[in-house]
Amino acid sequence: MSDTAVNVVVSSRVRLARNYFDLPFLNWERPENARLCVERAQAALCGGDESYDLYLMRDLPDVERLKLVEKHLISRDLVERADTGAALIRHDRRVSVMINEEDHLRIQAIGSGLDLEAAANVAFGVEGRLEAVCTFSFDPQLGYLTSCPTNTGTGMRASLMLHLPMLTRYKQMGNVNQSVAKLGLTTRGIYGEGSEALGDLYQVSNQVTLGRTEEEIIEAVTAVGRQLIDMELSLRARCLKEQPLDLRDALMRSYGLLRYALQMDEKEFMLHWSHLRLGAAMGLLPVSLNAVDDLLTVAQDAHARRYAQETSPGEEADAARCDIIRKTLETNV
């Protein structure tokens, strides 16, 4: 199971919301408090055996902020709080601590494949280092106190990024959303507006944070993840059995376009990317899953714009995107 999970699970992520006990939540109105929030986190995490880089949103060019968003290291909300927002990002990019987002601290750990427990343990480790220096707002009845009551309690959001092209194709996502909601969890598209899920990528995460232990939350999200993996994999097998030519044709067409097209917008890219990942996972296309998952980040808009600036100034992002994709696919034959 665990070795086939990567065919569906792109990443596992755990986020903890924490606030210092002695400062009000609404810090963007009080720059001196916002500064304190950064300094405390910096004192706790920097200079230890792990190294972190501090990013102050106000000092960062727009395109660099968006690159961090595309890497899922910071949120769009943090970018919008440009004057006070900051992030401490560990060198291996598996841990990021957003500062002065909706809460003072949002500790986030990301891992690949299906392993929320490992991600949670990393996040708790970082929390421990912060706790050695700071005291968090905590109430014995309500748990960790957060700016929004939807996070109160554990302050934890455990989420899986899942690639579900077949569940989407066979129009099962509506049913999935409904049954998942009954369990206190939610599914939503990761890319795209409203109900569309570009790249057939979905996030499954807990909605409920109060009254459950962290272990219960992780178990619930993992159990749903496993079920979706099973459903997706059996639909893939069925599709390959019933429509082998149609399936291979669709995958090869997308592969051909990704290898030879000269310009492509983000939406079209995401469409073919989904086929590329499906083909890589099913062993039907000559590319590794790691390379495909890398592309998901490095071929997004901000990355493509930055790449164009560095290599061929004046080039459009849509053309730079194709340069990046081509390079990846050529070296991964």
């Binding site: 957060t146 939807t150 109160t152 206190g184 909605q207 232990t213």
Partner: protein, 169 residues
């Protein structure tokens, strides 16, 4: 009994409503409860909060209560508009309104997870947590018509409240 929202379906979920200083309980069907959660499923937490808040307020017209947090000065009306609290003290000063809200968002209102390493609960905290947990379990047992367990929880609750000499709830 029938759902107080649609008046059609059997009510199975109850929400405790605190309005204008009076506490009442509203009973809803799963469908009406789901309707409130629907916007949340689509990631629209704001919409969910205001719909819950409006349900909580609709049992009885709430007075324009001038409740203001003694810690940060946020008014409850501000919170209803933005869905964001201003500081830890907000949780205490607005606790009459927040408890039913937390209960309806999370289905429970007693923390069960990790605690800060440095936090040592007082015996009173421990007791309050146990009481709240037992009440929750009793309600859930009653809701699933598991009356035997419910009676067990009730007896335990009774013992706890008698030990501390507190008045019967």
């Amino acid at each position: 009994m029938l759902c107080e929202e649609c008046g059609k379906n059997q009510a199975t979920v109850s929400i405790t409503v605190s309005a204008g200083g009076e506490v009442t309980t509203r009973r809803l069907c799963p469908e009406c409860m789901k309707k409130m959660q629907f916007s949340l499923v689509n990631g629209d937490i704001q919409g969910f909060l205001s719909s819950v808040l409006s349900v909580l307020g609709s049992g009885q017209k709430r007075e324009e209560s001038g409740a203001v947090c003694s810690g940060c000065g946020l008014s409850y009306a501000d919170f209803e508009r933005t869905g964001r609290l201003g500081c830890a003290q907000c949780y205490r000063d607005f606790s009459d309104q927040l408890r039913p809200l937390l209960q309806s968002i999370h289905g429970r209102a007693q923390h069960a997870g990790r605690r800060p390493a440095a936090f040592t609960p007082s015996p009173e905290d421990e007791r309050a947590a146990r009481v709240s947990e037992l009440r929750q379990k009793m309600d859930e047992a009653v809701a699933s018509e598991n009356f035997e367990d419910a009676a067990k929880y009730r007896d335990e609750l009774r013992k706890l409240t008698e030990e501390s000499g507190a008045a019967q709830p």
